[in-house]
Subunit: 580 residues, 2 copies
């Protein structure tokens, strides 16, 4: 019998236990039909990742175990689930074995609990101390690891753990335990260069273990976390097969004929050859586009998939079918409208133009052109009369206060109108701001920051421009008109809250700003070291000052899909009211 193991690349919904079981069963049938002898699902597949404070409820964990017991499977399965606490301990992040007879057995618990960046696992789980082994799963004896368990061995963790589960398994193997492969149940979040790290992890593990290493990864968005999928398997010699990103499916790994491994989805009528990556080949797989080969695409399209899937899953998993956004004629709202249409369909997006006396004709034209090209509902609601009355109401404040007072009034009136439409249509407002302006406080709290989700909130302005170009190229390649007008892309960015205002009156040019912000935020570089790279010292100091001062706004920002290692929120928690 062929030794084929199915890696189930699952898109679970946190807390939807019955739904997750149903998705698993669909993939299990695909896998069995294709000849798999056993299947491996992702980390916490039963609960979805991240379950956060649901894990504090013992009855939630019991419900997960019960749900696992309802799985009807044609082949034996290893699946991730929270497992019950032992006395005076936290629960475990476990792997369950489900056999034909419906029996549910705990195989192992995760040993290494990441607690950095987006991870908080030491809050929720107690670690195991022994390596996981499962015997006779579809006739195979396998090593079992859970996500981070394999990362210490490759040294790709920010600080060292006390143990290395891959070395533990290798030591057992050395003592005569015969394992045909080691599997890894992962919920390994996306960021731009993550897949090349995963490749390194899998190759290092396979080499040390002397047998294949197979990693099943979660796909899709849950809350602000994104998972790209890209499940993969590596041989000790360095050969790798990999699943596509951003789509659910089964990577069927053939242990006897590795290059015959295939990728199967519910939609496709037949299996596709899985991506094969030769030993030593490094140039690929930093990217991947929805449902496509990881080799064929560039990182901009990867980002585009990431933020589109993030928005789609956020809405679908929340039961939201419609979104509303303000469309100013600027690049951010144009790109956000395109993303929303890609994510949800043109009938699910409402764009609102809310011109004021400061709005230029070309901005109104640009916004309308994008809405028309996308075929979305488009409303025009001038704020002019409201603006006049509000200025009268706050007469002294507007005339004697700083210009910000009058500017914020406009942004907040627009926020009010967007929310009015959202409330009346049972839609969710989306905020269109980007990471550059959020980082600098160049946005209005309770104004343009309004929204339940900020699809561009973890993308720098220069990345938003890249997405705009990619969106237009995509449209043209499909014979459609580019939805984002040339002038939207080429005109100087402006908030249009005062006459002839442009962003560069208040901010350094975005190329400079983004480079400095990237260094400060992602690289945690010191201002001195950034200046030493050739950036103007005063500009760096100014940008850092704004970054610190605007923390109070970010404390209240809507969730944004995480596409970087150091996004605001979970992975960027500066003290707020505190002097620095």
């Amino acid at each position: 019998m062929a030794r084929k193991i199915a890696l189930l690349q699952l898109n679970p919904t946190v807390g939807d236990l019955a739904g997750n079981v149903k998705r698993l069963e669909t993939l299990l049938v695909l896998a069995a039909d294709a000849g798999a002898v056993a299947a491996v699902a992702t980390e916490l597949a039963i609960s979805g990742y991240p379950p956060r404070d649901l894990l504090l409820q013992d009855d939630f964990i019991s419900a997960c175990i019960e749900a696992a017991g309802t799985i009807s499977t044609p082949i034996p399965l290893l699946v991730g689930s929270p497992v019950p606490r032992k006395p005076r301990q936290l629960p475990g992040n476990g792997a369950l074995r489900i056999d034909y007879d419906g029996a549910v057995r705990e195989v192992t618990r995760k040993q290494l609990l990441p607690t950095y960046e987006v991870f908080d696992e030491a809050r929720y789980f107690s670690p195991d101390s022994r390596p996981g082994i499962v015997r006779g799963l579809g006739g195979l004896d396998l090593g079992v690891t859970i996500c981070e368990d394999a990362w210490q061995h490759a040294g790709l963790v920010p600080s060292d753990y006390q143990t290395d589960p891959i070395e533990q398994l290798a030591a057992w193997t050395g003592q005569g335990v015969e394992l045909v492969a080691t599997v890894n149940l992962s919920s390994s979040p996306f960021h731009a260069t993550k897949q090349s790290s995963r490749l390194t992890v899998a190759r290092a593990a396979a080499q040390t273990l002397g047998h294949p290493f197979l990693l099943a990864n979660q796909v899709g968005g849950n809350d602000d976390l994104l998972f790209d999928g890209h499940s993969l398997a590596a041989l000790p010699g360095g050969e790798v097969v990999s699943a596509p990103g951003w789509v659910e499916g089964v990577l069927l790994v053939d242990l006897d004929d590795f290059s015959a491994s295939v990728w199967i989805t519910e939609e496709s009528s037949s299996a596709d050859a899985a991506d094969f990556i030769a030993a030593g080949d490094e140039q690929i797989i930093e990217s991947g586009v929805e449902g496509e080969s990881a080799k064929a695409v560039d990182s901009v399209h990867d980002l585009l998939s990431a933020v589109t899937i993030g928005l789609r899953d956020y809405c679908h998993k929340s039961g939201l079918s419609k979104v509303v956004l303000g469309m100013s004629g600027g690049i951010d709202s144009a790109v956000a409208a395109c993303l929303a249409t890609r994510a949800l369909g043109q009938d699910s997006v409402i764009g609102i133009s809310m011109p004021s006396r400061h709005s230029s004709q070309h901005s109104k034209d640009d916004a309308e052109a994008t809405a028309m090209a996308l075929g979305i509902e488009y409303l025009e609601l001038s704020i002019e009369e409201l603006h006049e009355v509000a200025e009268k109401r706050l007469n002294t404040e507007v005339s004697e206060g700083p210009p910000m007072v009058g500017e914020n009034i406009q942004a907040r009136l627009r926020g009010l109108l967007v929310m009015g439409i959202a409330n009346s249509r049972s839609a969710m407002a989306i905020a269109t701001g980007n990471k550059s302006e959020l980082a600098q406080g160049y946005c209005t709290l309770y104004g343009d920051m309004n929204g339940g989700y900020a699809p561009l909130g973890d993308l720098y302005k220069t990345q938003v421009y890249e997405l705009a170009r990619a969106i237009n190229v995509d449209a043209e390649s499909m014979g459609n008109p580019p939805p984002i007008t040339e002038s939207t892309i080429t005109k100087p960015p402006s908030a249009e809250l005062a006459p002839d205002q442009v962003d560069q009156d208040s901010l350094p040019p975005y190329a400079t700003l983004d480079a400095i912000l990237h260094a400060l935020i992602e690289d945690m570089a010191s201002p001195e070291s950034i200046a030493a790279q050739g950036y103007d010292e005063d500009t760096v100091a100014w940008v850092e000052g704004k970054l610190n001062a605007s923390e109070h706004k970010r404390w209240q920002m809507p969730p944004a899909p995480r596409v970087s290692e150091r996004a605001f929120g979970q992975g960027w928690r500066q003290p707020l009211a505190a002097k620095r």
Copy 2:
């Protein structure tokens, strides 16, 4: 020479290293003048607690060590500070010894790193594995523990650690090491029954160690965390001396004549006798009021101190000198105005009445009466004209959408006016909402939720009423008129967003609601078990449904002072977009 140890109950500002050193030096002089031979400051006193992501910057940690080296002290000092990372590890949560000669020596690092509720220490620190001992500090040999290190021994941790540092120290003592006392550097946050837990911890440690156990605790607010102080010392027999809460100062513990221990502040000209608590005495110390004996006060006054100090420190440490709030005539805004005046003084508070067509005359009168009694600046800005224009602008939405559409418009127009005043006066808006309404989503995002801080955000509505009565009693006891009118307290609560609307049209009576919410949030009780306590099953299910559904609003709520174990935010992180 008398063996007197000074516990420095410090109110540091996170990140203000020079300022924290200066505060320490002031307390050190007080301590030395009173005859202390050595001093013990609080956990992370140099950086302030919690430094959060500042700890990810190596140069911040170097700066802490440098700042420690600048401390000029007349007596030897043990002080908490982040200490540098070892290769491939995280930094330590350390205790430094500072001697007369200015030498800075690392004594120990915290072993038990709490990572639950408000704590995230496993994110930031590597643990030590050996107990801390300091020899010859002012001639004394002392055991040294840091906060959580002492809590495992009393069993007062949510799940067990692998080690017990108190037992470790006891074992060393058993092997002939002679320690005269063990000290504990703490930043132990406030919540309602915390001090009785601390008493249990100190007594258990002293009993096991067979010598005095001395705990120096941080005081004041940093971001959303509150620290009550209440530093204390316990003898093996169970006798305890305790410092007051909510005020900076020195608890001078006399090891040779325990009951002669005194409390010293910068303001008082002489030392006061410290609170003495007899062995076995349990009834006290659940509470404490600003600068007063822990025995004399009740828990309502403790809460009042907590939220007042929280707001005061949040503003002062952020460099904010003025706050603005909407005053509706309701109980929440009346109490918030009183708190703000207590925290910042009457010249630093601006109250704004923003009546609409739905506002009753008694509400306007009640709001004005409170403002006048407090002597704060009071503006009246009717929203009527704005309301009319906004309704016209969103005509279809208001007439055909749900009533919420029209109601939210009013709340958001008020939010816009409050922010306009805040922006023009360089003031911070405070949100006046309470935990009950936040928990139920009975509030308007981008409307009455606007603000940089929500002083009542972790208090249930019934607690807000208790504060109101306590505030009035306080005023009367000082011969002042009660600032909160009787009708504010007795009239049925109403949002006044529709004709004759009252909260109880939409919510269960607050006594019922708060009891159910407390059970769901703080006790994490199941709906079934709550119903079994005698609450109507449908009501419990309805409240739980609203609690889950309103998570998206709380994701964007302003920081609120934590007065409970399970506040929204850090200690309450439900998945957001995920089905439950």
